[in-house]
Symmetry: C2
Subunit: 409 residues, 2 copies
């Protein structure tokens, strides 16, 4: 008998019929003898409907009251799912985040989970009940309703799994697992049976939108095996866990991630002395602009060049800040480029394999793709290239690292 | 500085625009220096929408889960009203029933309030905030969400007023007060400035649907002055309170109530002996049919006749039960009539005035209206008549007891 936490997103519970289909799925697991805790999102569209009502009143409503408002979305789903389970003859009980209780800090709209009291849920599980918990929400120490921010239902599920010491946390979504890369770009992309937390984090932060990054971090921190599965089809999905013994036989590179949401800024001819990087990047961060890749080089004349990337939406703001900085520092010039793309190869295997970078650069060179920037981490190599070569680069790397499925073309 | 609890029903908060209008009304009171606690219902239509979703899943859903579901309706309203108040520059804070906390028993769907913790609300009021509370809901001692049943928002408001020792509880509705009788039947009906709890109870139980009976009982029990006012127009409304010194100058009869929802059943020729009334009426009650008027007479031959009224919807079920009872008791006959109406005159003044009944019967006799049944309580005399004479009877009594307004025809 396993204890399993399942999570179903907004699309999976988007209509009464879909809620009934989820109930059937949950019922099957329950009949197999598993103890089941189910975390659910609001029915798709509901959160936006509620936000719309609020915006009619105030473009910037109180975050506390926003949380009171939007948390009703999941509350509707938990009640309906329990009713559907009851109708199938299965005892079920729903809990809001505050009822569980999922204790969070008081950062309304983006609260973080501090602690979960699993006592009440365990009592229900022992009594043979399925427990249905509202995702995305909790309450602070004063009992105020909080939300974890969009996508927070994944985090709720993982946190519940950690608190209850569950055997597995299953995230049901509209894809049937994690792929070597986006199948819309590479037809021969393959579903991965397994991937490590670290790899998943790198994939997720590079634009693979299947799981919320925080939920993966959380799962890794508490070592909760996470499985991404399809709500609509049967299948094993992809298991995300710590490295295991099979690791030696694992491919060197697990997947290719990419992202075309960024723009690049370069400032040249600045003094190569301590504090300059801070002067440049500190001012950008202070304006709440998130900086991704950062590369610094020193030229022969001892002047330095710093290049960094930001989200494209932030480019014009970052550019005007950088102009001011360039003036202050007496820099030679700045330039910007929003026609770039970022491509990464990700894999824990590369830690123990030499020549991975060489293979990557060779594959790109064979296609005549110029590399503008390179950064590396322990399990990832990222390059920035011209955006128009993105698909070509991803396909070349997918083939170059032997990731193509043998079956499809 | 007064502490006032206000209650706005579903129609008063039916749209974002109406919620904004309520906020303006609340804001005016707040600026006058009153401490304000506002209880609200779900936006009109919302509760039915939620019930509709549930019924798609199960015709008889779990009452516990129904409460989780429908309680979201008021939760949406409290958040939106607080946002609208904030927008007007007024600090406001919303609370669900469970957050207040409004402790109830665990009779889901028809829970009764056991206790209210006013601590948190008082803290907010002292800090100059308006407090907005979800009506109609609470939580039981295990923290499960409960609802007080339809119309329960009135009860929430009165219970809050009692717990906070408020100066007045104002119920905002779509009428501007309590009238001497239904103005649709008697054009010259008048708004009452004052009425006692007892009178209001008798009026309410006779079909005056302005206030939920339980909320009036509650207000009387804890002596909370209750004021019925219009959400849409200015005006003093009707104050419902204990008898006061003005009582001596009060009209003998305060109002005429009526009801055409009932049907009459009679069983004749039953033994006049102990336990017979129980045998007849016990079986009806056991089938959960509510019995209103009961009259028993004994004929010359010592056989008894019992007549009683039930809701028209229950007539056929009551009739078949009564047939069985008649057979068991060897009764002579039964008959039923669903073309009846009940008319009552209500007034605490009649306690100290003789001849009130005579005036009533005279007024009806002058119109040639036959009286089928008579029952009396301390502050009410009720007659059952043929339904087709109902309007005639109400107008005759309204004139007979000097209730007609001098102004309108």
């Amino acid at each position: 008998m396993s204890l399993i936490v399942q999570k179903y997103g907004g699309t999976s519970v988007g209509t009464v019929e879909r809620i009934q289909a989820v109930a059937e799925k949950v019922a099957r697991g329950h009949r197999l003898g598993d103890k089941l805790v189910v975390a659910v999102s609001a029915m798709s569209g509901e959160t936006n409907r509620l936000i719309g009502l609020a915006k009619e009143i105030d473009a910037q409503p109180s975050m506390r009251e926003m949380d009171v408002l939007v948390s009703t979305g999941e509350q509707v789903t938990i009640a309906l799912l329990c009713m559907a389970l009851n109708k199938l003859g299965i005892e079920a009980r729903s809990y809001t985040g505050g009822q569980v209780r999922i204790l969070t800090d008081n950062a309304h709209g983006k609260a973080r989970i501090i602690e979960i009291d699993g006592h009440r849920i365990e009592g229900d599980l022992d009594a043979g009940r399925v427990v249905v918990v509202a995702g995305f929400q909790g309450s602070d120490e004063d009992g105020n309703i909080t939300t974890l921010g969009r996508g927070g239902s994944d985090t709720t599920a993982v946190a519940l799994a950690a608190a209850l010491n569950a055997d597995e946390c299953q995230i049901y979504t509209d894809v049937d697992g994690v792929y070597t890369t986006d199948p819309r770009v590479v037809g021969r992309a393959q579903r991965l049976d397994k991937i490590t937390f670290d790899e998943m984090l790198e994939m997720a932060s590079q634009g693979s939108k299947i799981l919320q990054i925080r939920s993966v971090e959380f799962a890794g921190k508490y070592n909760v095996p996470l499985r991404v599965m399809s709500s609509f089809e049967e299948g094993p999905g992809t298991l995300i866990s710590l490295e295991d013994e099979d690791q030696m036989e694992k491919a060197v590179v697990s997947g290719i991630a990419f992202n075309r949401d960024e723009a690049k800024l370069t400032i040249r001819g600045i003094p190569d002395q301590p504090g300059v990087a801070y002067k440049v990047l500190g001012a950008i961060s202070a304006a709440n602009i998130e900086i991704d890749v950062i590369v610094q080089n020193v030229a022969k004349d001892n002047s330095a060049t710093i290049t960094f990337t930001v989200h494209r939406n932030d480019l014009s703001q970052a550019e005007s800040l950088l102009k001011q900085i360039a003036e202050d520092l007496g820099a030679l010039e700045i330039d910007t480029d929003d026609q770039i793309a970022k491509v990464s190869i990700v894999g824990v295997g590369m830690r123990s394999h030499a020549g991975v970078a060489a293979t990557m650069f060779e594959a790109l060179a064979n296609e005549n793709i110029n590399i503008q920037l390179i950064t590396t981490s322990e399990i990832k190599i990222t390059v920035v290239i011209e955006e128009r070569y993105l698909e070509l680069a991803v396909r070349a790397l997918h083939t170059g690292f032997d990731l193509d499925s043998p079956s499809a073309e």
